[in-house]
Assembly symmetry: C2
Homo-oligomer: 445 residues x 2
């Protein structure tokens, strides 16, 4: 029974609960059983109180029994990266410096999930302050390998079927990379689509909320609930909500056109990954396109912004607990402390220009297709792998999806990343759904 319930997608589970075929309590119980079985190996959770999760599930079942109106995620458990504030659980941001931290309020994302009826199952492991230094989590496909970061626990928990949905964040490659390494769907919406109020801040320009799921439909269904204008997030604009579910689930009128882009970092992909992508591209019959010249500097632009923003965002941690920061993060902060305002502002000012170049390129294609990572998850628990195949797209704030369509050495997952036009998330999800169906066939060959 546990296996049946934990195999349900979030949308299937929500439907089954709504039709009273299963209860939220039973589903949460199944997730907790699964966690009890695999968590000792995977260690995906920073905080989990099985009793409290059960209390929430029972309350959802009770509300349903009393005829209360049900949100789209009624009774569905969701795991939350431990950098999103929760009023009822600790939020420790992956650092001993914040040990025991109890926020007074829910982050906007958590508040919206509760409003949609979700059960907040627990908090998932993040790297140190959501930057590079790995925490305890291991890759469910091979515990000697990294799950990727910084949303390590969120990706691993979904991959290991501990929970159907999790929330993560991406400032460089922290959604797409762990999704690729763990073989799940990862979706990083357009910058400014989901509020970051109550989320650990690294960089207002670069931080994105993202989601993990096992199907594109699930990723769309949870993201849909998270889109609500919030003036506390300066990147947000009041505008109509995109209809991710309604439009994302449509059949494209004709097969999507993909621009295969090796990007300036193709040489950093390993030979297995390069071979797999070239074959995939051939089979899909998609055209190879060169990124315009300004993108050559994009990784440096990202780094200039990120390091200066880390220096300010973590100035308190640096001042009061420098010794307890990892050497990597300290070095980034210290470089950021020396960044000049003109260099920073020139970098920030180049973002709209790069985004326009992508908009132009995507006039003729539904999506860009490119590797999500340099290869399969490295057999190394001291690192979380390279985010370089995500950097450009994060910098531009355009939507990105990882699809677990390829296999590398030892059958390990290799992620296909597709990227859409700024604010055209519904089209990207429609394309992702099409490609995951097509890719299922491709893999079958």
């Amino acid at each position: 029974m546990t296996d049946t319930l934990t195999a349900l997608s979030a949308c299937e589970a929500a439907r089954a609960i709504r039709r009273r075929e299963i209860t939220s309590t039973a589903l949460v119980r199944a997730c907790l059983d699964r966690i009890a079985a695999v968590e000792p190996t995977i260690e995906a959770w920073a905080f989990l109180d099985p009793d409290y999760a059960t209390v929430q599930a029972k309350a959802r079942d009770g509300a349903q029994a009393e005829g209360e109106p049900l949100g789209p995620l009624h009774g569905v458990p969701v795991g939350i990266k431990d950098i999103f504030d929760t009023a009822d659980m600790p939020t420790e941001n992956g650092t001993v410096l914040h040990a025991g931290r109890r926020p007074a309020e829910d982050s906007m994302v958590v508040a919206l999930l509760r409003a949609a009826g979700a059960v907040i199952l627990g908090k998932t492991v993040t790297t140190e302050l959501a930057v590079y230094s790995p925490a305890k989590t291991r890759n469910p496909h091979d515990p000697s390998r990294t799950p990727g970061g910084s949303s390590s626990g969120s990706a691993a928990a979904v991959a290991a079927r501990m929970v159907p949905l999790t929330i993560g964040s991406q400032t460089n490659g922290s959604v797409i990379r762990p999704a690729a390494y763990c073989g799940v769907v990862g979706y990083k919406p357009t910058h400014g689509l989901i509020s970051r109020a109550g989320v650990l801040r690294q960089s207002l320009h670069l931080d994105h909320v993202g989601v993990f799921a096992r199907t594109v439909e699930d990723a769309a269904s949870v993201a849909q609930e998270l889109i609500a204008y919030d003036p506390r997030d300066p990147a947000m604009r009041p505008r109509p909500r995109p209809l991710l579910m309604e439009l994302g689930n449509q059949e494209p009128p004709s097969p999507p056109r993909f621009a295969f882009i090796k990007s300036p970092f193709w040489d950093q992909a390993d030979s297995d990954a390069r071979a797999a992508f070239l074959e995939f591209k051939e089979r899909l019959q998609c055209r190879e396109v060169e990124l315009p010249l300004p993108f050559a500097k994009a990784a440096q632009v990202h780094r200039t912004i990120l390091e200066a923003d880390l220096a300010l965002s973590f100035s308190g941690e640096y001042q009061h607990g420098k010794e307890q920061l990892s050497p990597t993060l300290r070095a980034m902060i210290e470089r950021g402390q020396g960044t000049l305002a003109t260099d920073y502002n020139r970098a920030v000012g180049s973002i709209p220009e790069l985004r326009r170049a992508l908009d132009d390129l995507l006039r003729d294609y539904d999506a860009i297709l490119t590797p999500g990572t340099t290869g399969v998850a490295p057999a190394d628990l001291t690192s979380t792998g390279s985010p370089i195949f995500c950097t450009i797209w994060t910098l531009c704030g355009v939507p990105a999806v990882n699809l677990p369509l390829l296999r590398g050495p030892q059958g390990l997952p290799l992620g296909v990343q597709i990227i859409g036009r700024n604010n055209d998330d519904a089209r990207l999800l429609r394309t992702a759904r099409w490609l995951s169906l097509w890719g299922g066939n491709f893999r079958g060959k």
Copy 2:
């Protein structure tokens, strides 16, 4: 006849044109006659082609004769600070480095003025790149005195009745200060209310479009036409247009409550100004309020942002023509080149906090009342006077109005500045209208 026509307010002139009591051609002719008479002394214009102005006016009259729908400013001449791009006139930004510059397109403000039916009379003199170094313009009340800057020509042209309306800009005190020195109404709307597309950029955080007129109603009428969402200006948000004319012209339900604020810079006001303000405050029976502590650092915050932004905005001018920049501007740019990104971002990050403190303070008052300048226009043509009484309000982006209600030594104008809540421009204009009526009585005593 020239005197009668140039004495009309913009609203009176628009009404008279609409009723066919006067023509735009006659009004523009009267302005050109007045300019011919006083321009040799005042030197308010950077570009003026009387024939071309007349051609525009005749076209407006022709359109009216043919029954075309008339905009609210149909046939009314407006002077434009020479940092706003005009497709049909040079835009030289007050520097020899841009001599002969001919923009391809109108700035948004100029395009909106044309759409409202205005005649673009010509371009008014600005200081060097709209910063401090004075150009040729003199104060109409005493040609040995500065008109203030950087919108020197715009303030002087309205004060000298060369034109009923002009457009200016404010990054520190460039609307309120020249309006105060020249004895006219100056209105700097909330940051983000008017698009800066096609305007010389100093600082995205600090630059504001502003207007000059001889009545509050006129200032409201032209500003009303300039408010239109423009995604090219990153400070703008799509939102309902404030009804400046409709609400600003209402009678307040009860006499407005003013918070008299000396600000941290009271000591920099001269003794005549201090005495005049203390008397004014007594007569108005308004309460004196202290600014909260964080404002002590506001001028430094403004300087940190401005200098770093100047260093980037004028990097081309610095690189290619350093020798032709004034020593003052060069020094600002060079300080800005050394500003650290963390200091810059900390400064930018403190703006919302300061704005919230003002919002709180203004819960109990309709407006803040404070000097617009340190005193009357200095008898010095090598400077444009101190902007210090404007710095805080510009930094916070809140709306400000100068009213020419007081007189200093030799009967020179002394400006009363009132400041409103962020995005509460209609209330501020309503209060300004009330105060200018009350102040007329006060002055009569």
